[in-house]
């Protein structure tokens, strides 16, 4: 029996395996574990296993870099490749050309992974979302100028917001050139001085929207200096562009409506401002007129005419007061006179005579005693009423 070397036996086994159609160009289902991508060579090494067994697998860098998603430990996949021997170690392994996720498609797995990555980088952060300008001057539209999207935006804005300006930048929205073209469009619109951008396209299948799921588009939107509204025309699923944008619109028309207010509102706003101005002006007028009235009243009070009138009134009053004073004085005087007269009256001798006394005169002189009287003298008597002559017959 000939003696053979280790190399010979490994080569032989390799030869046998290569010749077996059951081991070449096959698809193997399993779960990835110990996934390592060699940092230098770019080759990927992992173990494919199921509940009972495991097999080594290798994917060379060229094939690995063609993968749309990042294989991860624990991922259920179907690998395509062939079984062969690694002669140096005498180990057989699967040489993998392609990996597809088992279940979800490679593209959707890749998308989820990119979403996670960008989310971790803060590209979707709410804090980064900027408010849209209330009244944009120049609205940038980055989309295919031959598509319906740009027509929709122009239609809506010409009706709603004719005071604005539209700056439409042509961009390729599908195919391999699309992501770069969209990024360039964003930079171009930004450089043209737009204050808000609409980036998007009309509706389409998932495939058509892949440009809006590109990482570089997400960064272009994130890094854009002015707010971006995404309008990818897909109601159900959010593209990465939607998540990175400051606002998301379901359609280009809706994006146009979000981008600018309706001019009708502006008319109303003007009317409202006018009403407010009028109200304020009128109240200023009211205040001024109240002050005028008050000041005018004070001024009139000081006018010569008014002062004359006031003096006249005062004069009248003084006159009246002096008149009454004189009158009072006179009244008092006359009252006192009356009193005195009454008193005088009561003292009058005539009043005594009326009570029965008589006066005796001799030779016109009133006698107060009988001295000087002699019998035979004639005297005159005065009574209260009337008089008489009498002769003295005796005296004592």
């Amino acid at each position: 029996m000939p003696v053979i070397t280790v190399t010979q036996i490994n080569k032989y086994i390799g030869f046998i395996l290569k010749g077996d159609k059951n081991l070449q160009g096959i698809m193997v289902k399993g779960e990835i574990s110990n996934y390592v991508r060699h940092y230098k060579s770019g080759h990927a090494y992992f173990t494919l296993k199921d509940s009972e067994s495991a097999v080594k697998a290798v994917m060379f860098s060229q094939a690995a870099s063609r993968l749309k998603f990042q294989p991860e430990d624990g991922m259920s996949v179907i690998v395509s490749g062939s079984v062969n021997v690694y002669e140096r170690d005498g180990a057989y392994q699967i040489y993998v050309n392609d990996i597809v996720p088992d279940g979800a498609g490679a593209a959707s797995v890749a998308l989820e992974q990119l979403k996670k990555k960008l989310a971790a980088a803060g590209i979707f952060d709410e804090a980064h979302k900027r408010p849209l300008p209330e009244m944009p001057r120049k609205i940038g539209v980055v989309t295919s100028l031959s598509g319906a999207a740009v027509r929709d935006v122009i239609n809506v804005l010409s009706r709603r917001y004719p005071i604005g300006e539209i700056y439409a930048v042509n961009a390729v929205v599908q195919g391999e050139a699309a992501p770069d073209s969209i990024c360039r469009g964003i930079l171009c619109a930004e450089a043209a001085g737009c204050d808000v951008l609409i980036v998007g396209r009309g509706g389409g299948s998932d495939e058509d929207l892949s440009a809006f799921n590109a990482e570089k588009v997400a960064y272009a939107i994130y890094n854009c200096k002015v707010p971006v509204i995404s309008a990818v025309g897909h109601e159900t699923d959010f593209t990465i562009a939607d998540l990175a944008a400051d606002r998301r619109a379901p359609t280009p028309s809706a994006a146009a409506e979000i981008a600018a207010p309706d001019v009708q509102l502006l008319y109303e706003k003007i009317a409202q401002l006018e009403r407010r101005a009028e109200r304020s002006a009128l109240s200023a007028l009211d205040r001024a007129s109240e002050r005028f009235i008050a000041l005018n009243a004070r001024l009139l009070a000081q006018s010569p005419e008014n002062r004359l009138k006031l003096s006249g009134m005062r004069l009248d009053e003084l006159e009246k007061r002096s008149k009454t004073a004189v009158q009072h004085y006179l009244d008092r005087l006359s009252a006192r006179l009356g009193e005195n007269i009454a008193r005088l009256d009561s003292l009058s001798p005539l009043k005594v005579l009326a009570r029965g006394y008589s006066l005796v005169y001799k030779d016109g002189r009133l006698l107060a005693s009988s001295d000087g009287l002699s019998s035979g003298d004639t005297v005159e008597l005065r009574f209260g009423s009337g008089g008489a002559k009498a002769e003295i017959t005796d005296k004592w």
């Binding site: 804005l157 005071i163 700056y167 073209s181 101005a277 009028e278 002006a281 001024a288």
Partner: protein, 57 residues
């Protein structure tokens, strides 16, 4: 429009003298008429740019 808003706010401050109020009100009316005219006559401006022609930065 912004200027008009400013004027109205100024007017609403109250305690401004009548002459100033009249002046502001006049300015405001002029501005609002101007705004309205602008809205009435506005015609959207459209520029179309071939993005592909723009050199990359």
């Amino acid at each position: 429009m912004t200027k008009l808003s400013r004027i109205v706010s100024e007017l609403e401050k109250g305690d401004i003298p009548l002459e100033k109020a009249v002046e502001l009100y006049g300015d405001g009316l002029k501005l609002s008429a101007m705004c309205r005219k602008q809205l009435d006559e506005a015609q959207i401006k459209i520029t179309e740019e071939d993005g592909a022609a723009v050199p990359e930065k």
